[in-house]
Subunit: 252 residues, 2 copies
């Protein structure tokens, strides 16, 4: 009975899907690909994806809002980026409890069985209690296909005593890549991650994750991330990642 | 005041330490380095490290023991590996709430300020409640410098609905690398991780992480991990990692 759980999408079969005319290969110039290029192979543009991802009204709790655990540094940076959303260049992304909430009404093609239980939670939102686990907010720039994530690790993310676990940083970079890749051009699955760690992040401090879409080739999206202190004096890590493009379908 | 938090070890300064006679470079043959080679530069052998890491009596809770949330598959594999510990070839590693508990009485040289709070928790043990977060146990083979980690992801580790987040897998691989590198030869800090994702892991299923120490060169330990289903029919990910060797010192 448990064998039925293995009905997961192997990337081999996903790659098979890429042969369809709807998902024909595309090549995009290095950095800041023009919006129309990303629109050629897919039915939804970045603007349409963003509009759906950021509902104007919702009954879902947004975990990417300030709370009492946010430090003055975290609040200052949040206000700074919120100011940049006023002319529409940057967008503050909402963050719900589960990805099932983010893709309501959509399904993954190719036989992915989504058996999310009621108690399922997005890994980077594992804790309801404020300040103990992940505190973060992602701002996305649709025109430039880049994101900034403000990250304040809590004491439940520890690796070396007093410092965030390397894996906790990687998970959040993967999560920021994931949202950036999806909104920039239907990036859905992480294929590869490469992380160079440089310094540890003290628990309770703030790290800035600067994520950029570098290029798209053969339905693979190449992203980069620089994680550093807000004053850019301490480099925490450099990360590169590759995502597979795959368009979600409307549920019947 | 918050600037004092940046007194973290930059790997540059750690590398500086490596110039001391006590930590002179060593080169070790590919795979299964003989125990005595690892002992040449450091005061503690793998046997001594393991003996200290696995106290015979302790008042600390071991989170790597079966509980009611473990599936029949997880229990079967646990019993199977526990059987292999009887002749001493394999050792079941304890898993405490924080790394501060694992390195009691020891300190990191080179100015690492450990400001762990009372409420600090190892990231991969973030949840007290059984079955919702990480369920895992690591078995270590001291002679062959390799480990096996049995991993059952709970619903709080979700990425795609119903499946474990890629970052949750990476964090546990990093954690298994970390314990393996430390016990095999004082590997302390992750320098690099490279992950190739192949298939998603369904929440509630079991993944086997096979970790091996491949080689040691210039105080860098090179590790590999194959994460797959227990029947070896589904490959979840391949990971390589590099750790920096640095010996902990006795606290005064």
């Amino acid at each position: 009975m448990r064998r039925s759980l293995w009905l997961v999408p192997r990337f081999g079969s996903c790659k098979g899907l890429l042969g369809s005319p709807r998902l024909r290969p595309q090549s995009v110039l290095h950095r800041h690909p023009p919006r129309q290029v990303l629109g050629t192979s897919f039915s939804s543009s970045t603007d349409a994806l963003v509009a759906r991802f950021c509902p104007k009204t919702t009954d879902l709790k947004d975990y990417a809002l300030p709370n009492a655990s946010w430090s003055p540094d975290m609040m200052r940076l949040y206000e700074e980026f919120l100011e940049k959303t006023k002319d529409g260049e940057w967008i503050k992304l909402p963050s719900f409890k589960s990805n099932a909430d983010h893709i309501r009404g959509l399904k993954v093609p190719g036989g992915l069985t989504t058996t999310s239980k009621e108690d399922g939670r997005l890994f980077t939102r594992f804790l309801e209690k404020e300040g103990q686990g992940y505190e973060y907010v992602i701002f996305f720039n649709p025109a430039k296909k880049k994101s900034v994530c403000l990250f304040q690790p809590g004491p439940y993310l520890e690796g070396a005593p007093g410092f965030a676990h390397g894996g906790a940083l990687v998970a959040l970079v993967d999560e920021t890549f994931s949202k950036t890749a999806y909104l920039s051009g239907h990036g859905l699955f992480t294929i590869n991650l490469n992380i160079k760690f440089k310094n540890l992040i003290p628990v309770g401090s703030v790290a800035l994750l600067n994520v950029e879409l570098e290029k798209i080739e053969d339905h693979k999206m190449f992203l980069s991330c620089i994680a550093q202190s807000p004053d850019q004096q301490v480099l925490f890590a450099k990360v590169s990642g590759v995502f597979l493009q795959l368009e979600l379908e409307e549920e019947e």
